[in-house]
């Protein structure tokens, strides 16, 4: 069973397949199996509260072809900043109930510092530039959540993500 490194879809997310994808045997051009000493991973979960509202569920929508390009863009940035890191990034769309995952990320590296930084950087960049939107269905109503203006060329945003990644 093998999953793509970058994906967007409506199926529930799990981390194990991403971890296997980044740390397992690689294609001929990649590093030898066993060259990774660390995997850092992240799951974003739907919380039962947001801004004081009792949340029932979220609905995510995406501009899927552009979201995949955004993920490729993020993977390329990560590879440029942390050479040797392999990144997997899956985002779920559709209705996601409290406690379930909306995003899963895994980053494998020879050493843990780069794995942690790359993983953290990736989730920051997803939030900055991926064309994905969530609508929050809470006790008493619903609202589109609007965060960052998506601009992959915004170097200030990219620098902020690197700072937060403790790079």
């Amino acid at each position: 069973m093998s999953v793509p490194l970058l994906a967007i879809g409506s199926a529930p997310l799990a981390l194990e397949p991403l971890i296997a994808a980044v740390s397992g045997p690689t294609e001929a051009a990649g590093p030898a199996p066993g060259s990774y000493g660390a995997v850092a991973a992240f799951l974003g979960l739907v919380r039962n509260h947001n801004l004081g509202r009792a949340v029932h569920y979220l609905e995510y929508e995406a501009y899927e072809p552009l979201a995949l390009r955004a993920f490729e863009h993020i993977a390329a940035e990560t590879a440029e900043r942390w050479p040797g890191v392999r990144l997997a990034l899956h985002h779920r769309v559709g209705r996601i109930v409290v406690g379930q995952a909306s995003v899963a990320i895994a980053a494998a590296s020879a050493h843990r510092a780069d794995a942690f930084s790359a993983c953290r950087y990736a989730i920051e960049r997803v939030k900055q530039i991926a064309p994905i939107w969530k609508r929050e269905f809470f006790e008493g109503g619903d609202v589109w959540i609007e965060g960052a203006t998506a601009d992959p060329g915004d170097q200030q945003a990219r620098a902020a993500a690197e700072r937060v990644a403790c790079a």
Partner: protein, 81 residues
Amino acid sequence: MRITVRLFARLRDIAGAAELRRDVGPESTIGTVWRQLVHEFPDFASYERSISSAVNADYARMDQAVNDGDEVAFLPPVSGG
């Protein structure tokens, strides 16, 4: 020339459609298309400073020219993750 407009999240709600076909004049840019939509849907105006855009599923700037048959997407501020 004729283009397809893709709208997402609240922009889609405001327009009441995820996809529109619109005729635009020659030498139009994404910005031209946007201003035409703001005229059509005045509530779009509040996104003037926060919108971003794509052409044919690739990020694009508002001054980019559009061509016949292009898919032009307008992205309100994103909230993935």
